[in-house]
Assembly symmetry: C2
Homo-oligomer: 398 residues x 2
């Protein structure tokens, strides 16, 4: 019999996916260039040419038995070492290869980290607004995801609500900076205060509280914004990374998990992740992709388009009177809708072929997300449509 737990999951369709499918279908009717699709966080810039070169070089000049052979289940040793070296060089850390576990993107890293440091029934806290896939990542481990309400003034942490929810039952805290969907980067002050509070509570409760830091947008940070490395602030940090956004390789499912060398059980967490992987039959990310990213470990695609797009959109939103916090990174912006019901707002926008995602699933009703990983030319055209939409529907004039 089909497992009823999973069968039930089929009911809850993702709003993002529905909107994205709508946009694709609508594009077939009126031409995709006329659909202003802000639904999906799919990088719009090509991967770094050096990545393509690295792949071709491996395919043309290496022994195929070696490059396509089984990877050790924790990742290829030289690749793990090159990740550790890169983090140490860039952030003054002291990782060794044994602290690195290669994963299927940040998704795989977060899901493994949570499974590793929780037991069924434990609580995991995250902060609204949050990436909706955190629900299945946490729920399928048997742990319970609880959402700390947003601080909508700044989208930094709402410490009052957080401290209240940070009970003895909490085994892990899951953060995402730079943040999807708000675009906000946690400040040094926020992370310091978070780390201090966690240390205090660890002492009070006499057990570890792990900080799982989901950082796929680490390299997309805008001018003048400081993006501190979370692992520097708190020993029990597990850093989750993906090359999806930095190298524009979302489909290649490559990322890693880095365990702070000072964490409790630091030397066995990666090994335990290997055991978790065994149980799901997913033994390692693809060998050739591991080898290729390790050759371009400190490089990125040309990510400048995201900041260009952000500035255009932010300025227009402000001009139109929206309440919006200026993003410090990512390719998301998170304005307040012009009516309380963000779903209704986004439905109206859809009539203008403007695809916006209401933020109910992100734990922040009344707001909406725009994923501006699209061509700048299209952003410019969309803003005229946005202006027309809010004028006609809400009487707003620039």
């Amino acid at each position: 019999m089909i497992n009823p737990t999973y069968k039930q999951m089929l009911q809850g369709k993702s709003v993002i996916r529905e909107l994205s499918e709508y946009a694709t279908a609508r594009g077939k009717e009126i031409g995709y260039e006329n659909v202003f699709d802000y639904s999906l966080g799919n990088p719009s810039v090509p991967c770094a040419p050096s990545f393509t070169d690295a792949m071709i070089d491996l395919l043309e000049h290496s022994d195929p038995v070696a490059i396509h052979g089984y990877s050790p289940s924790l990742g290829i040793q030289s690749v793990r070492a090159s990740v550790a070296d890169s983090l140490n060089r860039r952030f003054g850390m002291h990782y060794e290869a044994k602290h690195i576990f290669m994963t299927s993107g940040a998704a795989g890293a977060v899901a493994h980290a949570i499974r590793c440091v929780t037991q069924p029934g434990d609580e995991v806290l995250t902060f609204a607004p949050f990436f909706p896939e955190y629900r299945p990542y946490v729920n399928q481990t048997g742990a319970v995801l609880k959402i700390v309400p947003a601080n909508t003034d700044t989208f930094q942490i709402n410490f009052e609500a957080f401290e209240e929810m940070l009970t003895d039952k909490v085994a892990a805290v899951l953060i995402n900076t730079p943040n999807n969907p708000s675009g906000i980067v946690y400040s040094t002050e926020t992370i310091t205060r978070l780390a201090d509070l966690l240390r205090r509570k660890q002492e009070e409760y006499r057990h570890d509280i792990f900080l799982v830091s989901d950082e796929p947008y680490r390299e997309i940070v805008f001018a003048g914004v400081d993006a501190p490395f979370v692992g520097q602030f708190y020993d029990n940090t597990i850093t989750c990374y993906s090359f999806s956004k930095s190298l524009s390789l979302p489909g290649e499912r490559i990322g890693y998990l880095a365990v702070n060398p000072n964490a409790t059980d630091a030397d066995i967490i990666a090994v335990i992740c290997g055991q978790i992987s065994r149980g799901i039959g997913h033994n390692c990310p693809p060998s050739i992709i591991q080898l290729a990213v390790s050759k371009v470990i400190d490089q990125t695609s040309d990510l400048s388009v995201y900041e260009t797009n952000m500035n255009l959109i932010y300025d227009k939103l402000i001009e139109l009177g929206f309440t919006v916090v200026k993003p410090g990174g990512t390719f998301y912006i998170f304005p307040k809708a012009l009516e309380d019901d963000a779903k209704a707002f986004c439905m109206k926008a859809k009539q203008y072929d403007l695809i916006l995602v209401p933020a109910d699933d992100f734990g922040c009703p009344g707001y909406f997300r725009m994923a501006y990983c699209i061509d700048t030319e299209k952003v410019v055209r969309s803003l005229t449509v946005l202006e027309q939409f809010v004028r006609e529907e809400y009487g707003v004039k620039a």
Copy 2:
């Protein structure tokens, strides 16, 4: 706190892995060419050149945003369609793309299939000798793996023991043909009898019993051996495949699960597998690898070396008086040890730098496995050493 379930898994080290690590270490001492390493099932032949060409062609001539973009979580639609077409063409089946779910090799396929068709507490039956990783694949779903004892005369199914164990609690039966570790291919007679029995028990118990058919060695079948396609015999079949062995790409983690179109819930099993994937953060196999294998879907590497090696080893084993069933496929052979304790036998062989794997973990004590995916030249040299070993240790003369 680290999850104690996974922590405990660290105790049970894999014998295969230990022996393989020993072989590598020993190779550094005396030269790897002098270690006769039959431990690991890692393909020894290069991938098909057409696969390399397909990869380079994609990298050089396709839009990088398209080829490295997110795959839908069930797999790229055109790739799923090409898998269905290939199976239909080769085996007279009627799969559609919706019946195909792209996976991380056969391991991912088996783990997803079991999770999909069982609930915690259900029993899953498999047949000795069996691939030891079936334990974590099944145990981590909460189902219970039970092992039907081997029929050591032929390594076909021991139907007497099977029927006795096939109680109302059994939700799935997991088979592997061609078989690791025995090298045996299930005959038409075996599969027919298996299917008849399952149908009878489904009727008796009034619930589905799924047949999960693990087939990574499907393309490695030797002259004169007929390897029937299991899905033709039984409606509730989920076929699990990997390109690891056929294309020599074990590290690239690419395979699929194919749901018989006549199975119960056939149209939603792949979708449910997508939900399972979400929960483990592993959304899809790498895009570029999916695209490349679909371009060479009916091709294989040159796999002829495995049959050459098998014949050399089989003839020598017979000459030396071993009890052994002639393999019909794979790159494994599974003789009976020359003393009851196969571990002791293999420890003695190790003194001759002959790395054999005792079969206790495969559920068949007293036997050992040789993975002959190594160069033929090395096989030839190893047989002289094998002869010397059994003469000196067991007084056997050819």
